[in-house]
Amino acid sequence: MAKMTYRLLQGNEAIVEGAIAAGCRFFAGYPITPATEIAEGMSVRLPMVDGTFVQMEDEIGSMGAIIGASLAGVKSMTATSGPGFSLMQENIGFACIAEVPCVVADIMRGGPSTGLPTNPAQSDIMQTRWGTHGDHPIIVLSPHSVEECFTVTVKAFNLSERYRVPVILATDEVVAHMREKVALPPRESLEIIDRLRPTVPPDWYIPFEDNSMGVPPMSAFGDGYRYHVTGLVHDVRGFPTSRPDEVDTLIRRLHRKIDKGLGYIQEGEYFLMDDAEVAIIAYSSVARSAKQAAIMAREDGKKVGVFRPITLWPFMRKDVEEILKNVRAVIIPEMNMGQYSREVKRVDQGYARIITLNRVDGQVITPDDILRKLKEVY
């Protein structure tokens, strides 16, 4: 068996290593706390592996550049935080409609606006889902440890390549700046997915034609398959259209390709959930406090478990519904005013009592915070 490499890394550094391992060879970014270390790391690492780093004039340009690089056939990513993530939204929509794979790391800090640049928050959960205008599916993954910053980044690239979608890697300042010992798997043991490329002769290539997966093969500029890419609604050849049947077909295919992949895309961790009477649903750094709280509660004989969605979007409805049916109460601690809990409440048909715990003071949610909340139900 190939050997693991052990390193002491920061979350942001692990994201850099994950991206390089996944085959990312282009990064465009703009400095912003608390995501800057990703740009710094990429500026060091990419030129070592014949990749390219460019510091753009703003986050709008960064997003445009990574889409361009991806269209030229190179796996690409950018990294930012709240204010920069807001600036990227228009071009994220472009990547959705033109089906350009790319990864955007959003290291969440307190908001709105300039907010709390050096404090953690989870206040972009809804923005990752609905930040760009128009109906669109999106994949959002959230690591809760430094080791996961590596593995989930690899997964983010794999999903973006497989489904031709932008994937948002959303975590918070705590995970991004924390240092932990991590076991990095050897390259050959990693599953790396590359986008499907056309194998037909160029004159047979129909760039946006539907198939069983709903994901058409993607040619790179310069490969000889000359085609048109646009942010306008387009027909199967990529040409602008407003014909209702063609418009409807495109928008529905974009959704269907993600709906069909839910089993592959969605991933979550069940911690002490087997006999749990109360579940805590938490993600990114808060999930760490949630796990500790569950351990402490069990020492008092309280059957508490944790469900931790790694895939924040598409919302893990089946898992959450199943949990709601099997526990009497769910506690949802979040460093926001209740963004993920809204979704849980939306699917709760009176199955379980839902209790929210919201901290918006720029401080982490501690196990004690959660245990105090637990007293309301246990």
């Binding site: 060879r25 282009f26 465009a28 060091v44 030129p47 070592m48 014949d50 390219t52 460019v54 753009m56 004039e57 703003d58 709008i60 340009g61 960064s62 997003m63 445009g64 550049a65 990574i66 889409i67 361009g68 690089a69 991806s70 269209l71 030229a72 056939g73 190179v74 690409s76 228009e90 071009n91 472009f94 790179a220 500029f221 310069g222 490969d223 000889g224 000359r226 085609y227 048109h228 890419v229 646009t230 942010g231 306008l232 050849r237 040409f239 602008p240």
Partner: protein
């Protein structure tokens, strides 16, 4: 079929339903013809060319031609072009933008692309108006002219696109009118062949919006206005600033050798690998 028509025909996409979106008499078609002739002269293949546009009337230009084509978001063509060029430097990337696209919403990207000296050719169609949205004033609408958002006449000073490109550090800057289409062919060809960031400002007309609102007559009248007001840069050098007021200085404004980003980045790679 005349030779010129045949040449252009060879570069058009025949599975795209013509007619195009432009008004009869628009200068965009003249520029498209000029661009095709220039590319043909360079000897570059269709596969090597990536044509990137932003939003506006000229944003629709790439869809008609048989290259790798990309129609991006408003003002961002140069950012997408930067990514394409850096990801695959063997491609020849040409952007098509309007005056609003490149100078207003995309103004910041423009000066930084010039400063970075990425090997991209930026063609800017300057018709001094937002045409597609119905004739609002743009950053190049001259002071005192009328627009649908300046019915009391514009009180803003206009940007000089080419002069801005020179100041921002572009390797090559040229300006020409669509009236002088043959000269425009040669200018675009030189810009494409230039290593580094090259800019061609194409002075054109929007008789539908700008011309109508400012009572400048038909497309033909506006072309004649271009003919009568264009001054070659060599001649302009001998004229007083007063005599040049309202004139269009045409020709090559700057052509210099500067370090190109992609080549500089190869040095970065060598350093990162400990090779130098």
């Amino acid at each position: 079929m005349p030779e010129y028509t045949r040449l252009i025909y060879n570069y058009l996409r025949h599975d795209k339903k013509f007619p195009h979106v432009w008004c009869p008499g628009c200068g965009n078609g003249i520029l498209l013809g000029s661009l095709i002739r220039a590319i043909h002269q360079t000897g570059l293949t269709k596969d090597e060319i990536v044509l990137v546009s932003g939003i506006g009337c000229c944003g629709r230009l790439p869809v008609y031609v048989d290259f790798n084509t990309l129609h991006t978001t408003h003002g961002r063509a140069l950012t997408f072009a930067t990514g394409i060029k850096l990801a695959n430097p063997s491609l020849k990337v040409i952007t098509i933008m309007g005056d609003g696209d490149s100078m207003a919403i995309g103004g910041n990207h423009f000066i930084h692309a010039a400063r970075r000296n990425i090997d991209v050719t930026a063609i800017i169609l300057n018709n001094s108006i937002y045409g597609m949205t119905g004739g609002q004033y743009s950053p190049t609408t001259p002071y005192g002219m009328r627009a649908s958002t300046a019915v009391y006449n514009s009180i803003e000073q206009a940007f000089q696109i080419s002069e801005l490109a020179v100041t921002a550090g572009a390797s090559f800057v040229g300006r020409q009118t669509v009236y002088n289409a043959r000269l425009l062919d040669g200018l675009i060809e030189k810009a494409i062949l230039k290593k580094g960031f090259s800019v061609v400002e194409v002075v054109t007309h929007c008789h539908t919006q700008y011309g109508r609102q400012n009572k400048m007559g038909s497309a033909v009248d506006m072309l004649k206005w271009q003919r009568d007001n264009a001054v070659p840069v060599e001649k302009a050098a001998k004229m007083s600033p007063e005599a040049l007021e309202g004139k269009i200085i045409t020709g090559i404004l700057v052509d210099k050798e500067l370090p190109v980003y992609e080549e500089e980045y190869n040095k970065v790679r060598a350093k990162a690998k400990g090779l130098s």
